[in-house]
């Protein structure tokens, strides 16, 4: 290539500290690319939703919409999973646990349902919250840890008035309702705490316990799953195992509420999340 003498070349007239700017044209390929983008843009606005109007935008001749694309994706995945979903619907929960393919599918689907619907209270890791929501990872179950029992709890909820099959039970507020006085409550609390190690036999607390509490929590304090009466002999205290907490529980009573999910989730979803919760490590 011949050397060009650029000194005579026209400039834009701009000059900064002796540095002048050449008035050189755009490269031809660049200009053509620029025109190509304009042509493309016009075609694009015809093909796709683009121009805003008063009440909406032009829809584009391809009829594309992002919502429609998502709906198509969802429909495709649902069609893909339809076979497994119908199997989940038709299969007993205990059988699902023994069928690796269904178990894997139910665990994956259940985990998604859990994150969307359950984690708000029970936590993303299912560890619950002390004093409010039970930990689903341990082996202590207020209403039973068999997969069918978990399914019943999820489907119909706990103390959820709108569901006729909901699990119901109510601990009396012994202090507020005047069934026991403060001294008696203290004595019962001492006895209840002693159940975990060595029960304080022959105390006032034991007598009061047998009279007032044993109907639900049983004579030995092991609780009763049918009534949602917790086991008082183990190391797990949803509302706290120190004396002040136990006194408060006896005085005011405790009654957690969980919504029924049968109306909000499909049967397959309820089954999947039951399998998932069962498999978290505490299932019986």
């Amino acid at each position: 290539m011949a050397k060009r003498d650029d000194d005579d070349y026209p400039t834009t007239g701009h000059e900064w500290d002796g540095i002048r700017e050449y008035d050189k044209p755009m490269p031809r390929w660049w200009v053509w690319c620029f025109y190509a983008t304009i042509v493309f843009a016009i075609g694009y606005t015809i093909a796709y939703p683009a121009w805003p109007g008063i009440t909406g935008a032009t829809q584009g001749v391809l009829g594309y919409s992002t919502r429609g694309a998502v709906a198509e994706d969802i429909a495709r995945y649902e069609a893909q999973n339809a076979g497994l979903i119908s199997q989940i619907n038709e299969t007993e929960l205990s059988t699902i646990l023994e069928t690796p393919e269904l178990l894997q599918f139910a665990n994956a689907g259940g985990a998604a349902v859990f994150r969307n619907n359950c984690s708000q209270c029970h936590g993303a890791g299912a560890a619950g919250a002390m004093g409010y929501y039970p930990n689903l990872l341990d082996d202590d179950w207020l209403w039973g840890g068999e997969v069918e029992q978990i399914h019943q709890t999820i489907a119909h909820g706990i103390r959820w008035d709108e569901d006729w099959d909901t699990r119901l039970s109510m601990m009396p507020a012994f202090g507020v309702d005047g069934i026991l006085n403060d001294a008696e409550i203290e004595a019962v609390a001492d006895y209840v705490i002693s159940l975990s190690s060595s029960p304080a036999a022959g105390t006032l607390g034991e007598t009061l316990y047998l009279d007032n509490c044993a109907a639900c929590h049983m004579d030995n304090g092991m609780g009763e799953v049918e009534l949602g009466a917790p086991n008082l002999t183990d190391a797990i205290w949803l509302y706290g195992g120190d004396k002040a907490s136990v006194v408060e529980t006896i005085t005011y009573s405790r009654a957690g509420v969980m919504p029924a999910w049968a109306d909000r989730l499909s049967e397959a979803e309820v089954k999947q999340v039951a399998v998932y919760v069962h498999s978290l490590g505490g299932g019986q």
Partner: protein, 475 residues
């Protein structure tokens, strides 16, 4: 240039068409061999079979993107072992440094796909349209029936080569015999057709029409090479102290003294880059050495010694001008700089090979569950959960047994089963939830963290792997 300020000059010249002339000689023959070998490797490799057992593909070289596996004969690489590929790329980079510092742009001149395919396309062009002069005549004449016929024949053959090139590429990514049938019956995936189409288009356009413009405008390597070369690098050069003043014909008879160059333009006519090597080293030169062959042929004819255009170095130029002897070629190649590159290159290569052979067929990674860090069971036992990722890289289904070692009395359990062994299918990864438990009141249950080593053992081969992790107690 006398610039007319009212009418700016054209700054962007259209491409000057280049019509490389046929040449014969040692370097040309060498380049034919390299073309045959490299194209042979490219087109045939996907068809080599390699038996890996019933559960694994039997293609010797396969990039299985869907399953994230890379197979190369006896070597299988999983996606988490991608550092082997990174290592190979570093070796390729260092190799390029080594060859460039010793031999200049030898990659560009002989082995670069752009050079090889362009060479093939020029071969086809010459075969259909004739040699340089015939092609120039054809280019100048108007389109008539003959020109259309020749042009269309040439484009068709180019297109067939391009389709074969794009087609061969996709065979590296799927079972080649199956994919070949699928491609022709319309069963193959869209991405396969798209890849073939894109590579067909690039091969056709780059090899047929853009050619040297790819090297000059698109490729960064010619610009980097200036930094990689030094005065001892062997490159293609014209011995102007021997050739100049050039002259030919009557003028040559009249001028005295005259150099060996008879200004026959043979070196220019054969150049695929369209340059004149006699202008000295220039960015466009890919050192394909065809001008050496062309010039040597002429030198033989006029009875002058060969090597007017030759491989030589900038350092030798100075020595030869001064009448000294040039340094022997091996001294150019074996220098501290090239030795350093070789040592680095070989070091990485040896590390990769050692890494390949000490790999285990089973592997495990452990991710402790931190939400929550621990839970208390009804009897007061403290439990930690872990997700272990077990990899069975063999071609058989295996049972992996999990165990742990720790100073503290801890117990390991596998979620969902009473057994401690987990079946892992051939060539699969399995994620398994496990629990480690400490009895109530023990040190591990009450202290913040206890060291634990989790072991996995393949019950068949007795291979083991272990991961150190922590057990979290109540505090």
């Amino acid at each position: 240039m006398s610039a007319d300020t009212s009418q700016p000059p054209k700054l962007f010249e259209a491409r000057e068409p280049i019509f490389p002339k046929r040449v014969s000689g040692a370097f040309r023959r060498f380049k034919w061999w390299i073309m045959a070998v490299t194209l042979g490797i490219y087109y045939l490799t996907p068809w080599i079979r390699w038996d890996r057992g019933p559960n694994l593909p039997d293609q010797a070289v396969l990039v299985d993107l869907a399953n994230r596996r890379f197979y190369f004969f006896m070597i299988e690489i999983w996606s988490h072992e991608f550092y082997f590929v990174a290592g190979l790329l570093i070796m390729a980079g260092l190799g390029l440094f080594l060859f460039t510092s010793a031999l200049g742009r030898v990659w560009c001149g002989y082995a670069c796909p752009q050079t090889v395919w362009t060479d093939l396309f020029i071969l086809v062009e010459r075969w259909i349209e004739g040699d340089r002069n015939a092609r120039i005549r054809l280019w100048r004449q108007k389109y008539d029936l003959r020109k259309w016929r020749l042009r269309l024949t040439k484009w068709f053959v180019w297109l067939m080569i391009a389709v074969a090139t794009g087609g061969a590429w996709v065979f590296y990514f799927a079972d080649a015999p199956t994919l070949l049938v699928d491609l022709f019956t319309g069963q193959a995936a869209f991405v396969a057709y798209a890849s073939v189409a894109v590579l067909t288009a690039t091969t056709f356009v780059f090899g047929g029409f853009m050619r040297e413009q790819i090297c000059i405008y698109a490729c960064p390597w010619p610009r980097i090479q200036a930094a990689m070369m030094d005065e001892e690098t062997i490159t293609v050069a014209y011995r102007d102290w021997r050739g100049e003043p050039r002259s030919h014909g009557k003028k040559r008879d009249a001028t005295e003294p005259h150099g060996d160059c008879i200004d026959c333009n043979a070196c220019v006519a054969v150049c695929p880059m369209g340059i004149d090597i006699r202008d000295g080293q220039q960015m466009e030169c890919i050192t394909c050495a065809l001008c050496i062959d062309a010039c040597d042929e002429i030198m033989d004819k006029i009875g002058k010694p060969r090597g007017l255009i030759d491989y030589c170095t900038l350092g030798d130029e100075v020595r030869e001008r001064a009448g000294e002897k040039p340094i022997p070629a091996w001294k150019h190649i074996i220098r501290p700089r090239t030795i350093l590159y070789t040592v680095l290159w070989a070091g990485i290569g040896i590390a990769l090979i050692v890494g390949l052979f000490i790999r285990s067929d089973i592997e495990m990674t452990v991710s402790p569950i931190r939400n929550p860090t621990f839970i208390t069971l009804s009897d007061g036992t403290v439990r930690n959960a872990y997700d272990v990722r077990l990899r069975n890289k063999t071609g058989d289904n295996r049972d992996f047994r999990l165990s742990l070692t720790s100073e503290a009395p801890l117990r390991i359990r596998v979620s969902g089963t009473d057994l401690l062994s987990v079946p892992v299918a051939a060539n699969e990864t399995r994620v398994q939830r496990i629990f480690i438990e400490a009895k109530p009141g023990t040190d591990a249950a009450e202290t913040h963290a206890t060291d634990v080593t989790i072991w996995v053992e393949d019950l068949g081969s007795r291979e083991r792997d272990s991961v150190e992790t922590l057990f979290n107690g109540r505090n």
